[in-house]
């Protein structure tokens, strides 16, 4: 399950989130074939690459949703891939925020319910949870939409509620997988503005999966995934090694 030779623990200043030589297959399909990525504290990194290259699998491994077949995943100096399922799921609830392309909101619940939900699951009191939810909805320009069922919202509004729900717990990392994938480019950019502004204000680290260059341009830097391997062409270019 784990690599034979343990790597040294990351030194301070290393990545908050890090994948080292991560291998992950689905049956006989190799999705990741030795992926390396290190994301620093407060950094916003875009993970780009063609469809099927392994971007989502990498994000799921970094977030402790998938266990790698081989390799290591680190979070704040600890081996995420060696934690128990309980510990990982606690981390996902308390330290990570998620924004996906579609359907993470419960359509029958109101926006406020959806945003308060992660806090309620973390045993925050009802009153406090709804108050916090209201604050975040207002911050994302949805102050008047708290009572709406999320199923009745427009695509852009729903993604902003999803963003509020990711931010409400004060996550240390936001994992976003094609967060604007279902939106037109104007609405998508408004969502990206909010994501980036709030992440910067809170010092939140962001791993942003996207195939769209305009979306990636909101990040501090980008890496490319190809055939399950990560390439950082900014470094390749800078080193002029060829």
């Amino acid at each position: 399950m784990t690599a034979g030779v343990p790597s040294p623990a990351p030194v301070p200043g290393d990545g908050v989130v890090e994948a080292r030589q991560v291998v992950r297959s689905f049956g006989t399909t190799p999705a990741l074939r030795g992926a390396d990525l290190r994301v620093g504290k407060g950094e916003i990194v875009a993970v780009m690459g063609p469809s099927g290259s392994g971007k989502s699998t990498l994000l799921h491994c970094l977030a402790g949703i998938f266990k790698p077949d081989r390799g290591e995943v680190w979070f704040e100096g600890r081996r995420l891939d060696q934690m128990s399922e309980d510990a990982r799921s606690r981390l996902r609830r308390t330290a990570f925020g998620f924004v996906f392309q579609f359907g993470q909101l419960v359509p029958e619940l109101t926006s406020a319910d959806n945003v308060a939900l992660p806090l309620l699951l973390n045993k925050v009191g009802r009153k406090k949870a709804y108050k916090e939810a209201g604050v975040w909805l207002a911050r994302l320009g949805l102050g008047d939409k708290g009572g709406r069922r999320s199923g009745e919202l427009s695509g852009g509004e729903a993604q902003r509620v999803a963003l509020a729900r990711a931010l409400v717990i004060g996550p240390r990392v936001i994992f976003a997988d094609e967060p604007t994938g279902s939106l037109d480019s104007f609405t998508g950019e408004a969502v990206m503005d909010l994501l980036v502004d709030n992440a910067r204000a809170e010092g939140t680290t962001v791993v942003l999966v996207t195939h769209d260059a305009r979306v990636a341009a909101f990040a501090d830097r980008e890496v490319m995934v190809r055939d399950g391997v990560v390439t950082d062409y900014q470094q390749v270019g800078a080193s002029r090694s060829w």
Partner: protein, 174 residues
């Protein structure tokens, strides 16, 4: 456009006479705009002056084209530097990008790495424009958007070219 560097690339492939260089250039890069003979010779003369190429012995025969030029070590370094340095990300650079890709493939150099570095340079420019656009007045925002769309088109071309490198390598191979 960088005709001197393109000629250096063709010369790194093999030493050549001016008229052969012109023919090769027109085949790969001319696109209906053939390189005038005069420009070939003046460019070769300048490259020779700068010691990036050396003319061989004068061969017997008629006309000015009796020297076979070969690239020097300094010429190879010059070429390497040109290929490895991303083009300034701005609209309308297809021709030079294309020339770099074709030459890299001809010379067995890693074209995909060059394209990767170019992609990074383009994305860096898009980041700057995105930053500029955030909170910009509408006029500046629209101008930035215009530049962004062009850069995006380049990026698509880079992605597409990357998936076609093997095919292109076959075409430019001898």
């Amino acid at each position: 456009m960088s005709i001197p560097n393109m000629l250096l690339g063709l010369l790194e492939r093999e030493p050549s006479h001016g008229y052969e260089l012109k023919r090769e250039y027109d085949t790969y890069f001319g696109r209906g705009r053939p390189l005038p003979f005069g420009q070939v010779y003046s460019t070769l003369a300048r490259l020779a002056r700068d010691e990036l190429v050396t003319p061989g012995e004068v061969e017997p025969g008629e006309g000015p084209d009796r020297k076979r030029y070969r690239i020097t070590t300094a010429g190879k370094e010059e070429l390497e530097g040109w290929l490895a340095t991303p083009v300034e990300p701005e609209p309308h650079l297809q021709t030079v990008l294309f020339a770099k890709v074709v030459l890299s493939l001809m010379l067995g150099r890693p074209a995909e790495r060059y394209l990767g570095a170019q992609r990074a340079a383009h994305l860096q420019r898009m980041r700057e424009l995105t930053e500029l656009r955030r909170g910009a007045r509408v006029v500046d925002g629209l101008l930035a958007d215009h530049a962004m769309f062009h850069l995006e088109a380049d990026l698509r071309w880079i992605d597409l070219t990357e998936t076609r490198l093997a095919q292109l390598a076959e075409v430019v191979a001898r």
